[in-house]
Amino acid sequence: MLRLRVDRGKCTNCRFCESACAFTHTGQTVLKNSRIEVVQRAVEDQSYAIHVCHQCSLCPPLDVCPTGALTRDAQTGIVHIDTAQCPPGCRLCVDACPLHAIWAGTEGLILCDFCGGDPECVKVCYTEALFVREYALTPRGLGKHAEKSPLRPPLAKGGKGGFGPADSLRERHSG
């Protein structure tokens, strides 16, 4: 079962994911309609918040949705939103999502639909801050993940090059 994963220590805030997402979904450049967002709070911040649906096994928005507008696809495990069923003005899921992955676009609430299994944001993320992982499905939810299959040859060769500093930044933030 494929899942979108985020390694925010590697993010360099280029926001190409936002552009690619908004453009492939709507054919327009309105970044508000992107299903992923990268936020730099203060100008001197060197790490960025990446808000996107992780397709968690335990999904609070699914529990709070009063109308069933949010549904989980049994096959893929992706949570979809059907804005036609949203009660007007209801933003319960927006508040319930701990990852801030649901917000209002120009036409109703939006969240990541995983692009049918081949996310555009991952394609344009050169630093691999966004990547896709295969997980085993167990009766209790997602099991162990397989090794990340690299989208392109590894950047780091012989310890130099690649994203050593960004990696250390990630350790600092995860610690």
């Binding site: 280029c14 190409f16 344009v124 630093t127």
Partner: protein, 649 residues
């Protein structure tokens, strides 16, 4: 549809206009349209810091699109530092957000009665009081505005204390590391009492053919990330040049007195990456993420985090000022960014003052008792602090090097390396003929981002350069043959890149495998529906270059100003290529061929037929009265500084 906002700061009015398609076809956007508008908005008598000067902000034609690296916009005005064409580009997220906010060009006129900042959001423009931002530096100003407007996604371009105090080489800052640095645009903004521009919007940028746009983006993304040099540029950024110039023997040291120094072991980009780099940052939609972020422990024990440095700072305070201490370089770099000083000029001014001090032309009496010893931490920071505070030696150099040189006297101007009043970069390119020519002819003054034929350094086979430029360029950097074609090609490609809003790190300016004019054409067609052929696009580049030339000609500049710095006629002192210098005779012949190929006369003034072919005859009409005058002026070139800009002050 592209929109332009004409903003009168004195009257506090703003008016939205459409940018005519005809203008877009002729000048694309960004630098091209800015230059055209500036030409018509000011004249040769306009005071750069007066209310009559007009500041233009222009986003590139392809800025903000889901394309690779459409990040940049240009600030253009008459320069207070050089006295003529002022123009500076920067990346980051500001330009894209400006377009999302509904505007592609801003025309900033007049002078506000009290400090204001502009809040531009979703097609609306508000004037807001800025007086409370007085104690804040450029980064704090941006954060304060974000907090005040209640939106972290607001992007701000702000001046720092230097710009507010009208230091003539002040820059405009965005974030902690993006600066519209060269030619003192920050001082122009300060003179207008405009302290910041904040933008935010959710508007759509129309795309003519979305499906084609996605194909083009995918192809260009693969092309850029697939080049051999990509890992190097994304890893080292501009600092790659620290190592390049050193290994090839032209790093330039001690205010260009030497071509190599012995400081180099520590001054290495790998040392920076290992010890001080804390991360990388990207501009909008750019996979290259070449910008460094650093974390450094300063002398007083404080830990400082910031953006950068770029090569200008590292090479400038490094080999040029004789400092091999990274914490000092980073502290100076951060100080410049916070105060809003152009690091390009800051490094050159510091190196210049250090040479003057070494030669005894200035003493401690001029510097408030600060000994300006080469490489000294206190000297480097002291010069910058005194400049921002306008005391000591800073009171002199804050008004630009020309004014300082006049007041210091004793031939101080002869030690300042410049072209058309703008400092040359820290490396020493006198062994590369096309680059020297590019330095001499660059429109805004000595510049690597207008005209440096970078490919000359790679000794490419002639058949590669022939495919690119149309004429075989000798692999030998020291040859003068055909170098005029290389320079013209680079100037036109750079003009195109600036007008499209793409960074030159993604173009053939840097490497043969990157985006060229053919790729520009594809992206323009997909995004805007405007069809060009490669030749037509090159003619647009030619037109922009000629437009800038007309601006310079109106300012009284001509062949006498297309000269490399005086020090370049002296031989290199060190290394395997010692003795290399720019020989006047072949260089003048090269310049003649350059003018002839461009269709300019021997004085570097565009000929009538050249202008007519480019559709610039209206703009060039003033030349009819002036052609003879230029010859008279040039008959006896002035001694010393010699430029019109110096005379104007």
């Amino acid at each position: 549809m592209r929109r332009m906002a004409v903003i009168d700061l004195a009257a506090r009015t703003a008016e939205a206009r459409d940018v005519p398609e005809d203008l877009r076809r002729r000048f694309l956007g960004g630098r091209g349209i800015n230059t055209h508008l500036l030409f018509h908005a000011v004249n040769e008598w306009t005071d750069p810091l007066g209310p009559d000067n007009v500041l233009f902000l222009g986003a590139g034609l392809l800025t903000g699109l889901p394309w690779v690296g459409g990040t940049r916009c240009n600030f253009t005005a008459k320069s207070p530092e050089t006295g003529h064409l002022g123009d500076s580009a920067a990346g980051g997220h500001f330009a894209a957000e400006l377009r999302f906010a509904g505007f592609d060009h801003l025309v900033l006129k007049g002078r506000a009665g009290r400090p204001v900042y502009l809040w531009i959001h979703d097609g609306e423009i508000e004037f807001r009081d800025a007086a409370h931002l007085e104690p804040l530096n450029s980064a704090e100003t941006q954060n304060a505005i974000k907090a005040e407007l209640g939106d972290v996604k607001v992007q701000v371009a702000a001046i720092g204390p230097a710009g507010r105090r009208l230091v003539r080489w002040a820059c405009i800052m965005h974030g902690v590391g993006d600066a519209w640095g060269r030619t003192g645009m920050g001082a122009v903004m300060g003179s207008k009492n405009l302290w910041a521009i904040a933008v935010r919007g959710n508007g759509a940028i129309p795309v003519a053919d979305p499906a084609r746009m996605m194909q083009v983006t995918e192809a260009h993304f693969a092309q850029i990330t697939g080049t051999k040099g990509f890992l190097a540029t994304s890893n080292y950024g501009t600092l790659i040049r620290l190592n390049n110039t050193r290994t090839q023997g032209y790093e330039g040291g001690f205010n260009h007195q030497q071509n190599m120094t012995e400081l180099s072991a520590e001054l290495d980009s790998d040392v920076f990456l290992d010890k001080y780099e804390s991360g990388k940052a990207s501009c909008f939609n750019c996979p290259t993420h070449c910008r460094h972020q650093h974390e450094v422990t300063l002398r007083d024990g404080k830990v400082k985090r910031g953006g950068g440095p770029e090569y200008y700072g590292a090479g400038g305070w490094g080999s040029q000022c004789g400092c091999s201490d990274w914490p000092t370089i980073l502290e100076a770099w951060d100080y410049c960014n916070e105060m809003g000083l152009d690091t390009g000029s800051a490094t050159a001014y510091t190196a210049w003052l250090m040479e003057l001090y070494e030669k005894g032309i200035i003493t401690e009496a001029d510097t408030n008792g600060l000994p300006l010893k080469w490489g000294d931490h206190d000297a480097i920071l002291g010069v910058l602090r005194q400049t921002v505070e306008r005391r000591g030696i800073g009171a002199l150099v804050a008004d630009g090097w020309m004014s300082a040189a006049r007041r210091i006297g004793r031939d101080a101007h002869r030690f300042f390396d410049h072209v058309k009043g703008l400092t040359i970069e820290c490396d020493d390119v006198r062994g590369h003929r096309a680059q020297v020519l590019g330095l001499a002819t660059a429109s805004r003054g000595a510049d690597h981002l207008r005209s440096r034929f970078t490919l000359e350094e790679f000794s490419l086979p002639e058949k590669v350069t022939e495919k690119l430029v149309g004429v075989p360029i000798p692999a030998d950097a020291l040859s003068y043959t055909n170098k005029e074609h290389a320079c013209i090609w680079t100037e036109d490609v750079c003009a195109l890149a600036d007008s499209l809003g793409i960074c030159k790190f993604l173009t053939k300016w840097l490497s043969v495998g990157l985006l060229g004019v053919g790729e520009f054409r594809d992206a323009i067609e997909a995004a805007t529906g405007m069809r060009f052929s490669v030749e037509e696009l090159m003619r647009v580049g030619d037109r922009i270059t000629n437009m800038e030339r007309l601006f310079l000609a109106r300012e009284g500049m001509s062949r006498k100003d297309d000269a490399p710095p005086e020090k370049f006629t002296q031989p290199w002192t060190h290394g395997p290529r010692a003795g290399t210098r720019v020989e006047p005779e072949p260089f003048e012949a090269l310049l003649d061929r350059y003018y002839a190929t461009r269709g300019w006369d021997r004085q570097g003034i565009p000929r009538e037929e050249t202008l007519r072919a480019l559709g610039l005859e209206k703009e060039g009409a003033f030349l009819a009265d002036r052609r003879d005058v230029h010859f008279v002026w040039n008959a006896a070139p002035a001694e010393g500084v010699g430029t019109h800009a110096a005379a104007q002050g």
